[in-house]
């Protein structure tokens, strides 16, 4: 990384120059620097709406970058150690989908763990690729899915040697890392592309003492949520490529679904955040790591909660742990994660990232302060004092591996009918259902619905998880394949 070049922020600088020119707008957006929408200016501020401008020669165009966006992408690639970087404005969802669409055509196989974000399986609905799921092990005590073991991957590769790509989510939402380097070598032995959903791993590129990032591990593409640990605006993201992947073809794929009116608020936030990370990332994440480690030890000292960390590393299913994550298991105090999540928000005015059946995740970042960490820890202690239950929750696991019967695309576009969830056991699901967050599908199109899965869904619902993905917004009915009920 060339530090002196990294001090530049080409998109930001172009916007500054553009502002000074006081150009009269006879183009979109129609609010014309906010003048046509005073209430919006009141809410967002003049500076912000003034930067909401259209693509034009001095500001470049995201669909066909030749000047300042091109430069910003080059600087980003340099900062992340990639050959090429794409600035993305449709969230990491669009980055994940572009990776898959770049590698897989209809009917081709892709190897991935089932506990991926829904965006990955959505991509399979779009392109018609066939998923081959490699099963992650589950942590027996805390019930979460772990990383992918090299052995399991090798077996799957042997059985499906013609698959086009392998996709791994690393780190997972909970902070679990696989042996990315080994998995990448294996994929390459079979001439498959290695794609990494690094939505929760921007900081791995800049922090010290953290698990290896995808580019350094030799992966071919990676999707990076800059808006998570990178500090940019929500919805802004990055797609990285390496190892001679044809970036111009990838751009065509990105442009299939990406907006032609990319927001300069998002683009400039990516530009500025990349500069921040390159110049100050290491010290920022040092601070984040210290705060997370402090919180972990204080929470474990309360008793009843288990804030896990590097002790989970076993060299097979857990090959690294991202210590910036503050994930904890709550069931020992008799409460599900989602109950603790709701209590923190409703009773203590503390919003955390998510709660599921067994765990909660508090997102620690460069914006946190020690006094807020103290609040979180005391609130957890207070919840234990006031709400602890003798009886343990009836369901402990947060991951059930489903059986795939037909491909996601076939299932999604098949004739289907809507049935009450309880009556769906034995049928094949034709849509997604997931708790959001974390957004990992409980069922994806084409999977067999079992009694265990239905119990899990009903329990999650009863405990207050937000169930999403179904056509029925209340998630009381499920779409299943018509005429294929056993």
């Amino acid at each position: 990384m060339d530090i002196s070049r990294q001090k530049r922020a080409p998109i930001y600088e172009a916007l500054e120059r553009f502002k000074k020119k006081r150009v009269v707008p006879f183009d979109v957006p129609g609010h014309k620097r906010g003048r046509g929408n005073p209430e919006l200016v009141e809410l967002l501020g003049e500076k912000c709406v003034g930067l909401d401008v259209n693509s034009m020669k001095p500001l470049d165009n995201l669909c066909h970058p030749v000047s300042v966006i091109r430069e910003a992408e080059d600087l980003t690639a340099d900062a992340f150690g990639a050959e090429h970087a794409f600035l993305m404005v449709g969230g990491t969802t669009s980055a994940v989908q572009s990776m898959i669409l770049s590698c897989c055509k209809p009917g081709e196989e892709i190897i991935l763990p089932r506990n991926v974000h829904k965006s990955a399986i959505n991509a399979l609905v779009l392109c018609g690729a066939i998923p081959v799921y490699v099963e992650p092990k589950t942590e027996p005590r805390i019930g979460i899915a772990l990383g992918i073991e090299a052995e399991a991957m090798e077996e799957t590769l042997k059985k499906h040697p013609h698959a086009k790509a392998v996709l791994i989510n690393n780190p997972t939402y909970y902070g679990i890392c696989s042996d990315l380097k080994k998995l990448t070598e294996l994929a390459h032995e079979y001439n498959m592309k290695m794609l990494v959903d690094e939505a929760h791993g921007t900081h791995l590129y800049f922090g010290e003492g953290l698990p290896i990032d995808a580019m350094r591990a030799g992966a071919d593409m990676a999707a990076i949520s800059m808006h998570k640990s990178g500090g940019s605006l929500t919805q802004s993201s990055l797609l990285l490529t390496n190892n001679g992947v044809n970036a111009d073809y990838v751009r065509q794929i990105v442009n299939l679904t990406q907006t032609t009116s990319a927001s300069y608020l998002l683009l400039s936030s990516l530009d500025i955040s990349r500069r921040n990370l390159a110049l100050r990332g290491r010290e920022s994440f040092d601070k984040v790591i210290k705060m997370a480690e402090y919180a972990r030890s204080e929470i474990n000292a309360i008793g009843g909660y288990y804030a896990y960390g590097t002790e989970l590393i076993n060299g097979t299913s857990v090959c690294g742990y991202d210590v910036t994550k503050l994930s904890l298991y709550t069931q020992e105090i008799g409460l599900t994660g989602i109950e603790v999540y709701d209590l923190l928000r409703d009773e203590y005015d503390i919003q955390i990232e998510f709660g599921d059946i067994g765990n909660i995740l508090a997102y620690i970042s460069i914006g946190d302060r020690m006094r807020d960490i103290e609040r979180l820890v005391n609130a957890l202690a207070d919840i234990k004092r006031l709400y602890e239950r003798e009886q343990l929750p009836s369901i402990s696991g947060d991951y059930i591996q489903p059986e795939v019967v037909v491909s996601p695309q076939t299932a999604f576009y098949s004739e289907k009918k809507s049935v009450p969830i309880k009556e769906s056991i034995g049928s094949i699901c034709a849509e997604f259902i997931m708790c959001y967050p974390p957004g990992i599908p409980i069922l994806a199109p084409g999977e067999r619905i079992t009694a265990d899965i239905v119990d899990y869904i009903l329990y999650a619902k009863e405990k207050g998880c937000s169930l999403q993905g179904t056509e029925d917004l209340e998630a009381e009915y499920l779409n299943v394949l018509d005429g294929m009920i056993r």
């Binding site: 204080e298 000292a301 309360i302 009773e347 203590y348 005015d349 020690m370 006094r371 807020d372 103290e374 609040r375 820890v377 005391n378 609130a379 202690a381 207070d382 004092r385 006031l386």
Partner: protein, 285 residues
């Protein structure tokens, strides 16, 4: 030369105090301190542009958070004070010989230094051997404390400053846990008059009512506060601030005061109708 210090009490209301000169200004890890010398209020301590106290009216806060619980609780041995880095409250408690231990938790060491330098009378009590100062976050101090104190005072006044953690449900819950079975918590309850302060005042009451079986509010007139009007909270596990007031016992001590009397104690809990209404609304929630 005209030199005035102004503090905005709302966007539309300002309190301005003529100032002789600025005596001190410094930035700590937590806040910016300024000390002004003024003809009307004497020396004034300012944190991030807002008055913390002045020599002229500081005694009102200190007496009201000390003597009110002391005239109710029959047997106080251990007291804990948060945000009392100016020493005023500790000094007031140190007038009671039966108290064995006064712990003071203040995250900002500079607060104590500045007050020792510019408000030596107020900090006199800090050198009492019963007073122990802990420089740390209040929530951190409380985390492992259980069934220890007879009285806890939250002397911090600003729910939106660096001590906002002392106005949260987890703080009140942690105080409940740290108090003995007949313990009392007294806290700054803000000013209810201006619309923009009202919500903070409501939210404090809402949280405390849920945390303690007895929760009453009392008032005082303090010139440098918004609208010159200030509330305090009295939360307790057992004692009622009026039913359990032992006026005779307190009077027999012959402690010298300038604001507090046991008559005023009774009157302070008689609140204006609009304040009663807003508190009751929160109790019903």
């Amino acid at each position: 030369m005209e030199l005035w210090f102004s503090e905005c009490h709302t966007n539309n209301v300002k309190l301005s105090i003529r100032t002789n000169k600025e005596l001190y200004s410094a930035q700590s890890d937590y806040q910016r301190f300024d000390v002004m010398d003024t003809p009307e209020f004497g020396k004034v301590l300012i944190s991030d542009g807002e008055i913390v106290f002045s020599e002229a009216d500081e005694f009102i806060y200190d007496e009201m958070v000390t003597h009110v619980p002391m005239a109710v609780h029959p047997n106080v041995k251990k007291v804990l004070i948060f945000g009392g880095g100016d020493g005023g409250v500790a000094t007031c408690f140190s007038k009671y010989p039966e108290i064995e231990c006064i712990d003071l938790v203040e995250p900002d060491e500079m607060m104590v230094e500045v007050c020792k330098e510019y408000f030596p009378e107020q900090t006199a009590g800090l050198s009492d051997p019963r007073v122990h100062i802990y420089y740390m976050e209040g929530l951190h101090f409380l985390r492992n404390v259980q069934n220890e104190y007879d009285i806890i005072v939250n002397d911090s006044t600003d729910p939106f400053g660096h001590e906002e953690g002392l106005f949260t449900k987890e703080f009140y819950g942690s105080c409940y846990k740290a108090l003995k079975d007949d313990g009392i918590m007294v806290y700054q309850h803000g000013s209810p008059f201006f619309d923009e302060d009202e919500e903070a005042c409501r939210s404090m009451h809402r949280k405390v009512v849920k945390s303690f079986p007895v929760s009453r509010v009392y008032q005082a007139h303090i010139a440098t506060c918004p609208a010159g009007y200030w509330l305090f909270g009295f939360a307790s596990k057992k004692y009622h601030p009026l039913d359990d007031l032992d006026a005779k016992r307190w009077k027999d001590r012959h402690i010298e005061t300038w604001y507090y009397t046991v008559n005023l104690h009774r009157g302070a809990f008689m609140l204006p109708k609009y304040v009663e209404d807003l508190l009751e609304e929160e109790e019903d929630k």
